[in-house]
Symmetry: C2
Subunit: 224 residues, 2 copies
DNA sequence: GTCTATATATTGATAGAC
DNA sequence: GTCTATCAATATATAGAC
């Protein structure tokens, strides 16, 4: 059995870091590593990424990097944790007391902006999903499900009041996730299809415009 | 420089296979390998997958597998090639002479059905995208772009005739891809959020229903 | 065609000098 | 804290017996 996430080499006990305050220079080095690791992990996934690559991207030697994060998994864990909060912020932000249409419109825009500004985080997340989310499945079934349940209830309430067309709130949320994250995760494909002439950053504004139209009115023209 | 796709070991020249007809037993073995490789590649990506894993899943020894596909890359290449045709079939199928609304509705259903029936192929493709599509970028900029350009023109024509609400055809196609493939690529997340009770195969029917509603009518209720 | 044994490179992680 | 050197495991691929 090839267990990808098992620490290799001889008995590796995570190096005990003393609980002393972290210096500025230490944090800067850590941030440098995390920044480089985000590049590499988001592109190759956990197993595809190598410490060599991360160290080179961070401009330091491999043992030096391992001085700050004793194990490869530690870096990945930190990146995931740091990202999940940011990632769910837009959904948390959706206000049950607000007007349904503007709330959903603004949720879509916020989510699309995250794909534009944090594409690597999106791909890191997508990589984890494709692999069956081994490292965050608990969070999906716990924290995430709770949040979505809550927001689905809010949306369902809006529909009951006739402020939105009736539709499954869960699949609505999936659709918003899918359409917005697509521009980060499938960026190569989007660029290839749009061609060089349309591959400027304008594609995000076009996407925002299209998605607003889609989610608000759909494709079928109204008679009259 | 760590070049992941470079063949390793000593001077490896692809073993010259004689151009003699392939026997039935050979094809069966190859299919067995491809089937196993699809499992492993779709889950771990190209670099994350190992020949050991594939060989074990196929129930044969590693050298035996390498007898049929001399290099790891050969297996992956075959899987990609075999998949791309299937993958684009639903879009090719969209008929410019048909009625716009039924054509699009049926395209969505067909694409969603592919996510249900071929989730591993979808994830294989997604993995390749996340990595910047190094092995199929030419196909994206060539064959795929040509096909999408053509179909975008068809959809644009329908809009000119007033048979569809005006919207960017390219982003419409992206939205259909994203929403349908989401159910294969982010399957873990979908299941986690819907919970055990709603994680039967019924979720695909729910999704089909929702997506039809979304793409046809959007969320905003019509007055009157 | 299939197997055992093995060559060679890569990789995660450690040792120990400075 | 940082580096060079290196270990042990893993991985791709080949050699050669049967």
């Amino acid at each position: 059995m090839l267990e990808s996430d098992r620490p290799k080499g001889r008995g590796t006990e995570a190096r005990q870091r003393k609980a002393r305050p972290i210096t500025r220079i230490q944090r800067e080095k850590q941030d440098l590593i995390l920044e480089a690791a985000l590049d590499v992990f988001s592109l190759h996934g956990f197993r595809g990424a190598t410490i060599d690559q991360i160290a080179e991207a961070a401009g330091m030697s491999k043992p030096n990097l391992l001085y700050y994060f004793p194990r490869k998994e530690d870096i990945h864990k930190r990146l995931m944790a740091g990202m999940l909060d940011i990632w769910l912020a837009p959904l948390r932000h959706m206000d049950s007391d607000g007007d349904p249409i503007p709330e959903i419109r603004s949720y879509i825009r916020r989510k699309l902006k995250m794909s534009r500004d944090f594409p690597r985080q999106s791909r890191l997340f997508a990589n984890e999903m494709l692999q069956g989310a081994p490292r965050i499945i608990d969070m999906l079934e716990g924290e995430l499900k709770t949040l979505v349940d809550e927001k689905a209830k809010v949306i369902g309430g809006w529909m009951d009041e006739g402020k939105l067309n009736r539709a499954d709130p869960y699949h609505l949320i999936f659709a918003i996730w899918a359409t917005t994250q697509h521009y980060a995760d499938f960026d190569v494909q989007v660029r290839a299809v749009l061609g060089n002439d349309r591959s400027g950053e304008g594609r995000f504004e076009d996407a925002a415009c299209f998605l607003e139209q889609l989610f608000m009115h759909g494709l079928k023209p109204q008679r009259g």
